[in-house]
Symmetry: C2
Subunit: 420 residues, 2 copies
């Protein structure tokens, strides 16, 4: 594949530091829209969410871009191409957040993409192909029991409907009311055409890049996820009067079982993530031997065979542990398959990163992203930047400014390479 | 020590089976006083508790016994002695229960004692020394944050005061109101003299007697108890994006720590009971690595040095596990010393059991009892009978009738030996 030389210090490109100032200002503007809440709470179709999408639409209009709003509230800002306007080179991420989320998850990809578009427009003018920045309406599943409803609608995979949030409010009513509020002059109301490629810029939300002291992560795949509920049933009894040898202690059995699972996970693959996040004892009383323990298992890997392997080992171990007065029952309730992202786009980004002298490594994403939806309909790739201490889904979520800059630089180079 | 021959089949003694019928009737009468509740709920000074103590007082009056009620609501029924009335041979247990408790815990000792007194009175008439049956007001700590308030008052050790239950109701008001309701003609209102000996008949609430297929447990000691809160602090993080090698998982550390404690407990002594009954994760979410775990440790043994030994080992292990991003903190909040019960009374009961051809074994009580208070002021012993499957503090609590009978037989022989 031919690689054009990108010289980010060429006289026709502005100082990226100036671009960073504007990106920082844009991030602050959106993040300050709901100043009284702990962390970011842009739940889909909430007032804070509407204000954010409204601001983005306004920036698009102010920039003279082609501005579209679809029926699910996803915003599309297009810099229309000159010679191949029907070919769309897209970037973006999601506008919603989790409850008490951080300032960068999703928003960095949206505004980083906008910044790349602004930089290219200001210095190089109109591209040959159309450049599109997307702010998907919803990805996190933090309000309604659904995820990726925005990207699933754009990809024509599913039109989410018929849900209620925990206050009993109806998804469809909330959606139409919010879209109605956002609609205005100059804003097209349609479902835009699918792009030729999609690149999502995102914070890593993990610790690999920081640990390796590398600024750029090039994402080859998104892990598959399996989730289980494990129920360990023993016999509750008096903590003082029941001799140790006569106990069927569900908590002690759980300790041994989790210990074994941990070793099994390691043996299957050091990359297999194995997490017990939720756990509850019954009766959960200081002086009563626990009669029952229920806990969750969350397993992720890019390789389906390895996930199957661990699942079989866990089932076998549960059977091994089970006796008359102590049973272990494993029940799977989530099975999300892994996805491979586009290798050519990744290789192109690796090349561009080299040219920009940005250290990079290849990794899988351990979290779900809109890219796992988009990859089903168009060549898709992701660019990660480091997360400080891997913190995400919390107000303390942060990335050093030079790293935010590195991501935007690479994205800009990639969009230039694809659209100009 | 001289041992009189006791022949339970002598013509002057009634059929013990007849005695069992009456005991069963008495147990049913008290247990049916609150038929609409799940299990027994005779919380101290509650209406159900007042009804039960009231019924016991009435039986005492009907039997022509000397009936006393003290300021804490403890009931004393005396068969006054002929030649040494000031020397009191006492038996009994507690009238209160836990929430949703069983039909025998405490009540078997009270009504079993009453049955022994009735049997002796009917067949042998007046004893030389005074025979006393006691129903302590409160032992379980199931309503107010206190335990053994009845026996502590009788033993002149402490006058519990100034407490509130979880509904904010005041102990002293509840106490005086209940005692006022129970007061009536023929009921003496005083704090009786301490006894020369105290024997408590009780269900084992454990599994040793049933496992050994032995009807009688002779209690040599009551275990000391230590209770701790352990706090394991790691770093909460994303379950998918945090590589296994970069985690500070508080739950996994807890698993390893509890595993180690279990082995340490075994190495200190097979008789040391070690129970983790309560445990909570933070944030307790499926896809978040637990950042904190808090759990309880309940340890019991009759030997203080062994309890100290385990405590030291646990502290050392906590320190061993502690690193920069993972700390384990152990905090002790209960330290109840073990007590030895009277060896002469135990030996006498062993002898009597042999004469009655009742299989017996010596054991420590793993649960607290009024006897651990009484032993501080008078020679005290306990007689245990088996619990089916060791179940207690639950409606399913049960003991086979022949075993209930065996306990009453031995108690009767002991009271005869001491008072006639």
């Amino acid at each position: 594949m031919a690689t054009d030389n990108i010289d980010p210090t060429a006289r026709t490109l502005p100082d990226f530091n100036v671009a960073m100032v504007q990106l920082t200002q844009h991030l602050d503007t959106i993040n300050r829209l709901s100043p009284d809440t702990a962390g970011q709470n842009r739940l889909v179709y909430s007032p804070g969410w509407i204000a954010a999408q409204g601001q983005l639409l306004q920036w698009g209009l102010d920039l003279g871009l082609n501005v579209t709003l679809d029926d699910y509230g996803t915003v599309y800002l297009d810099l229309v191409g000159s010679t191949q306007p029907e070919t769309i080179i897209a970037t973006g991420s999601h506008m919603d957040t989790v409850v008490q989320g951080g300032p960068l998850d999703g928003l960095y990809g949206v505004l980083g993409g906008l910044q790349a578009l602004i930089t290219l427009k200001q210095t190089l003018g109109q591209p040959k192909k159309t450049l599109r920045v997307i702010a998907f309406s919803e990805e996190e599943g933090s309000r309604f029991p659904t995820t990726f409803s925005g990207s699933k609608h754009y990809a024509r995979i599913e039109n989410t409907t018929g849900l209620k949030d925990k206050d009993g409010l109806d998804f469809d009513s909330a959606r139409t009311a919010a879209v109605q509020q956002l609609t205005g002059p100059g804003i097209q109301r349609t479902l835009p055409k699918l792009p030729a490629t999609f690149t999502e810029l995102h914070i890593e939300q993990g610790t690999r890049l920081a640990a390796a002291q590398v600024q750029i992560g090039l994402v080859a795949a998104i892990v598959g996820q399996r989730r289980y509920t494990v129920t360990v049933t023993g016999v509750a009894n008096h903590a003082g009067t029941t001799p140790m040898a006569q106990r069927h202690d569900a908590l002690q059995a759980t300790v041994q079982f989790i210990n074994r699972l941990c070793l099994l996970a390691q043996s299957v693959s050091p990359e297999l993530t194995f997490t017990v996040g939720e756990l509850a004892l019954t009766p959960n009383t200081v002086n009563v031997i626990p009669g029952k323990v229920v806990f969750s298992v969350d397993c992720r890997h890019t390789n389906t065979a390895l996930l199957d392997n661990f699942e079989t080992l866990m089932a076998n171990t549960a059977e091994l542990f089970t006796e008359t007065d102590l049973t272990i029952h494993v029940s799977r309730w989530a099975n999300i398959p892994p996805v491979q992202l586009d290798q050519q786009l990744l290789a192109q980004n690796a090349n561009l990163a080299d040219q920009l002298q940005l250290k990079h490594l290849q990794l899988a994403s351990g979290a779900g992203h809109d890219s796992q939806i988009m990859t089903q309909v168009t060549p898709t790739t992701m660019i990660f930047v480091p997360s400080i201490q891997g913190i995400s889904h919390a107000p303390q979520e942060a990335t050093a400014t030079p790293d935010l800059l590195a991501g935007v630089q690479l994205l800009t180079a990639s969009l230039y390479r694809q659209a100009y």
